[in-house]
């Protein structure tokens, strides 16, 4: 495989722009995991475009971030499905049960230790 020719074909630029077919995309991904030169080239193309994107930035109105952060918890909650919420409730009650069991085991262990120490002391006194 002629790596230089592959790089110069222009396919990597289209890959970064998301303009390849799924098959071509898989091919480029396989190539980049095989050849470090291709991986580096893709990174540099991306960084060049990122710089250009920032250069052409337009100030987003402050109202967008305000609305976004106000609505974010609500919208994220709305996007959970009912079954997810059901699972969340189940997992919450499950973790509570686990906590109770652990506390019960610790208290039992402590009680048993105190009982054992007291018994040993009594035997010594006898």
């Amino acid at each position: 495989m002629d790596i230089k020719k592959y790089i110069e074909s222009g396919i990597l630029e289209l890959f970064v722009l998301g303009q390849l077919s799924p098959e071509e995309e898989n091919e480029v991904q396989a190539m980049q995991s095989k050849y470090i030169e291709i991986q580096r080239e893709i990174h540099e193309i991306s960084m060049g475009l990122e710089k250009y994107g920032k250069l052409k930035a337009i100030k987003a109105p402050p109202s967008v971030s305000k609305q976004l952060f106000e609505n974010l918890p609500l919208k994220m909650f709305e996007q959970n499905s009912d079954s997810d919420m059901g699972n969340n409730l189940k997992s919450t009650s499950k973790s509570r049960w686990n906590l109770m069991s652990t506390l019960f085991a610790l208290i039992s262990l402590l009680g048993f230790s105190l009982f054992y120490i007291q018994k040993t002391e009594n035997e010594k006194q006898k």
């Binding site: 990122e50 994107g53 337009i58």
Partner: protein
Amino acid sequence: MLYQHYSDALYGIILRILKRQGDSEEVLQAVFLKIWNNIESYNESKATLFTWMAQIARNAAIDKRRLKSFEMDNNTSTFNMTESELKTDERFSGIDIKSLIKDMPEKYRILIDKMFLEGYTQQEISDDLNIPLGTVKTRLRDAISQLRDQLKDEKHLLYMLFLM
């Protein structure tokens, strides 16, 4: 943090595609929600964080434009913001970055703007500019190469300034 760092660049892409402020604000919000909900599916071997987010922004804006065009019965006259109205944010435009655009031939700048910022496909560019598909590909590569060269120069300049 993510919002502060990338919102202006993503808004630049969205507004260039939609050319309508209200719709662009709505899409920017939707894009960030999508990013937050899908951040686990981000694959760093496939794209940098910014190019991944830019792809989401382009697709969302193009979908919105299609929907709006359909609603307006293909009347695109309301998508009427001009390039001068789409002013770039001066915070990012230092002297070196400005020279980057100034030195870039128009044929390259148009291509990057249309494909990266406005989401045109290579076929659409070929049809619009009446140039063969192969030329679009070669010209795109040349344009991005020039961007990368300028980026290297800028890094060297910053390094020299740092040493001084």
